[in-house]
Amino acid sequence: MMKISLKNLPELYSFIAKKNDLYLPIFKAGQVDFAKWDKDAIVDLNKLKTTKSAKDVFFPQSQDLVRFEVDGKKISIDEPIMPTNKQVIFGVKACDNRSFELLDMAFVEDYPDTFYEMRRANTTIVTLACAKPDEACFCKAYGIDAADPKGDVSTWIVDGYLHWMPNTDKGIELTTEVKDFFELDMDNSAVENQQSEIRAIIDRLPYSNIDLSKFTPDKLLELFNSPKWKALSEACLGCGTCTFVCPTCQCYDVKDFKTKTGVQRFKCWDSCMFADFTKCAHGNTRPSQMQRYRQRFMHKLVYFPSNHDGVYSCVGCGRCVQKCPQMLNIVKVIKTLGEDK
């Protein structure tokens, strides 16, 4: 293990940014979100949860695909610009780090998304342990250890130092490049102490032990037809807040924008909560907000696990718990539907 004094971090950032696009939790107009670092950026590693998750780095909110150029009656196609830059994302928490694995299931397995795949391959993930989990965290319910985040590199901030430990080949490669900034750290006790502190807090958290046992593929119809959905969803505004802050939501829409000289085709995040989600010629597949609400949570808790060996499409980050305008969230769904009644 190695360590670096927190005050030396800007130099480290600067060095990494020379060869990579460096993404960090950056403070901007009151909010902290992962963004590309530059020397004027205000980095906030203490922020437990960025407003949006870290998925932007691989799956940005909008991604240009092809561009058609129309000249009179002639049409030509411009090849898309591929994301070939090397990237480092720094400060990812355990929950977000797990979300990448879930996104891989959608974007890499079966039908790869080249943009995603390329970004994923080009990126080294530096994770950071959560020193101060909060009341909405329930990563433990999904077996995630916030104290040992296991990215390409794992880090911990203890007593003014960032402790650094590579886990993978990519991590070792990055470590080799930056090793001059670090001092060797032979004593693991500081990190271990913090880890046990974190685990102790997490054990106390109210949502850490929510019961997911009811959400199994064989209960699909029972859950789907539950009368409780109506009351659960009645306050839902149909906005996309939960979806857009969620690290595992992966739906997107493909749209065309008419440029001056042709058409720019792009894909952008979509939300199953939106009234026009998957709208086709005949109308909406899910015309009521209750149906849309049910879809989101059924997908996360039943459909996705059915297709992916029982893995839930939720990492317990708690963003939706804290950000829903009307305070609806997945935990309320799990608790209400999970009740024996």
Binding site: V70, G72, K73, K258, K260, T261, P287, S288
Partner: protein
């Protein structure tokens, strides 16, 4: 795929001199959807039109763009041609490459480049154009005339003579208006009553004319061909069916102190009255503000003397609702209040009078039986001063900015008549300009000067003060460059005229536009002088602006012809470019209706199928016969449910995109 044809006009050298028309044609050919493009010297010519019709047929065109002069010039021509060739006329777009391109740019390159952009923009629009069909609405064959003065009488008679029903609404107890108060009329000096009263009798006898006297229009709704008016018939407290007009009640009425409006307040009348001898209808009316019975419950003398039993103290206002196809506004005028002109002493000196009062003082049926006397003490005036332009042509708040038009002539008339009847009187007329355009008008004025010896003095009166029973008039004589001090017996002020005070209310009711002076605005100052911009509303007489009797009668006749033209149609073709709501998106919020100047938008509750059932929603509907297509509603509409045919959001945005390419 839509097939578009483009024509580029040379307009001789008008366009071809600064726009390379061949280059425009070539550029248009490259545009998607364009299957045909050609240039020609004059597309508006018969040959040009034939070429266009041929191309529409040969190439089975879905839309045509013509790059030529302003659409205000030939759009109608091109549309007609398109229609003849079997293409919906609204599938035509005109790119204005003359007025807005070739005529203002000198550089060929610049002109050509802009012409191509304009052509491309028109192509972009025509691609989105939809064929439009103008709707039709039926016409109610009855006209409403608001105002029963000479203007209203003339319009009503002309319309009725053509065989259409006419209702006249007059707020006073009798029709006749201002003209009935006049003594003689210029320039022929016939007696006003002698020429007016036969017309009033004609009106009352005409089987197609219905008079609502002592009535006011309360509300008007609807649109051209289909107006509905609410008329309030005020309580006369006299059953007009029974009243014989014998005037016995007037004699016996104990309350005789009311100012007589007909004599310009120079004498008094009883509380129950018939305003003048030839009144139509010749029926009594009780003035509720003066009647003792109505005010205190005691009296009832008129009821006792009325042998016909016509008096009815319990009578109430009645509201009558009638439908009309056209409305003639003939609300007339008043003279302005002279309280603000204290330098001329009107409020302080009894012997300073207005011209209208002078008319009554010289009229044989007036308060003095036509004997001209000073109102203060009854002496015969020896020296009389007329002042013109009082309150006209000024910029102060109390002034009217316009020329009242009739004062020069009636002042000459007054002066002339005075000198004729009383050659011993000295008559001075103070003028700024003497304006006498009109047949035999200047001759008339010259006669006053040359034959009758009226002293016309170029200058104005500065002040009038009463001194020892006389009026001291201080004035300037600009040509002699001296200040005059005239010791006069009577001063007559030619007060400015103004629109009647009810005009604004009626204008608002009719949504007919008015100018800042409350005169009704004509649809076009030169080419549509008797129509209001609001379809189906016509203007007659002074309500449109100052004018004398011949002009009024001429305009009244013209308005009548327009009404007849309208009423003789069974149906009307509506504007095709009207607002149209998409009810699937309509919120029913009423914002569009609040900005509609025509009241064209109404709401209905409508059933819509939604997943799992039926929902009732309030949605807007546009009456295409009323909508004039301004588009105010389209911007007030949040959801974009309201759009304007012919100028849709998409079409305009396509134009924007094309220009900014």
């Amino acid at each position: 795929m839509k097939k578009i044809g483009v024509f580029v006009c040379w307009c001789g050298s008008n366009i071809a001199a600064t726009v390379d028309v061949k280059a425009v044609v070539e550029a248009c050919k490259k545009e998607p959807n364009v299957v045909f493009a050609e240039d020609y010297q004059y597309i508006c010519s018969e040959i040009g039109q034939n070429k266009m019709a041929d191309a529409i047929r040969d190439y089975k065109l879905d839309g045509v763009v013509i790059c030529s002069c302003s659409p205000r010039m030939h759009e109608a021509t091109f549309r007609k041609t398109a229609e003849k060739a079997g293409l919906n006329p609204y599938m035509i777009e005109v790119a204005n490459i003359r007025e807005q391109c070739s005529w203002i740019h000198k550089d060929i390159e610049e002109g050509t480049e802009k012409a191509i952009v304009l052509a491309r923009t028109a192509i972009a629009k025509v691609l989105l154009n939809a064929p439009l069909q103008a709707g039709e609405s039926k016409v109610t064959k009855r006209a409403l005339v608001i105002g029963g003065g000479i203007a209203g009488i003339q319009s009503a008679l002309d319309i009725a003579d053509a065989g259409f029903e006419v209702d006249i609404v007059e707020k006073k107890p009798s029709i006749g208006g201002k003209m009935s108060q006049l003594d003689k009329t210029f320039p022929t000096l016939d007696c006003s009553a002698c020429i007016l009263t036969p017309k009033m009798v004609d009106v009352s006898a005409h089987e197609k004319i219905n008079i609502f006297a002592y009535s006011e229009v309360e509300a008007v709704s609807g649109f051209v061909g289909n107006f509905t008016a609410k008329i309030r018939q005020k309580a006369r407290y006299v059953d007009t069916a029974k009243c014989t007009g014998c005037r016995a009640c007037m004699e016996k009425c104990p309350s005789k102190k009311s100012l007589n409006e007909f004599n310009a307040g120079l004498d008094t009348r009883p509380a129950i009255y018939i305003p003048f001898a030839q009144a139509v209808p010749n029926k009594a009316t009780i003035d509720p503000n003066a009647c003792i019975k109505l005010k205190t419950g005691k009296c009832g003398i008129c009821s006792k003397v009325c042998t016909a039993g016509a008096i009815d103290y319990e009578q109430k206002d009645q509201i009558i609702e009638r439908e009309y196809g056209a409305i003639v506004v003939a609300t007339g005028y008043n003279i302005i209040n002279l309280d603000k002109f204290n330098e001329l002493g009107y409020s302080d000196c009894k012997d300073v009078i207005t011209s209208l009062e002078f008319e009554r003082l010289t009229n044989a049926a007036g308060p003095t039986k036509g004997h001209l006397i000073c109102p203060s003490d009854g002496r015969e005036p020896k020296k009389i001063v007329f002042v013109q332009c009082v309150g006209s042509r000024g910029l102060r708040p109390c002034d009217k900015q316009y020329c009242s038009k009739i004062c020069c002539m009636y002042t000459a008339k007054h002066a002339m008549l005075l000198r004729e009847k009383h050659p011993e009187t000295e008559v001075y007329v103070f003028y700024i300009d003497v304006r006498t355009p009109g047949k035999n008008y200047d001759e008339f004025y010259r006669r006053a000067v040359e034959q009758y010896g009226v002293h016309y003095i170029k200058g104005q009166v500065g002040k009038v003060i009463e001194k020892d029973g006389h009026l001291e008039v201080q004035a300037s004589d600009l040509l002699a460059d001296e200040q005059l001090h005239i010791d006069a017996d009577l001063v007559v002020l030619a007060a400015a005229i103004e629109a009647d005070d009810t005009a604004r209310k009626i204008g608002t009711m009719l949504t007919a536009s008015m100018d800042t002076n409350d005169f009704f605005t004509e649809a076009h100052a030169k080419l549509k002088p008797v129509e209001s911009p609001t379809a189906g509303i016509f203007l007659s007489g002074m309500c449109q602006g100052p004018k004398d009797i011949p002009d009024t009668v001429a305009q009244a006749g013209a308005a009548a012809v327009k009404v007849i033209g309208l009423l003789s149609k069974d149906t009307l073709k509506c504007n095709a470019c009207v607002a149209s709501p998409n009810e699937n998106m309509c919120n029913g919020c009423s914002l569009c209706a609040t900005v509609c100047p025509y009241g064209a938008i109404t709401y209905v509750d409508k059933e819509f199928r939604i997943p799992g059932g039926v929902q009732v929603r309030r949605v807007s509907q546009v009456n295409e016969a009323i909508c004039q297509g301004c588009g105010a509603c389209t911007v007030a509409c949040m959801s974009g449910a309201m759009d304007l045919k012919g100028f849709t959001n998409k079409e305009i945005m396509a134009e924007v995109e094309s220009i900014c390419k």
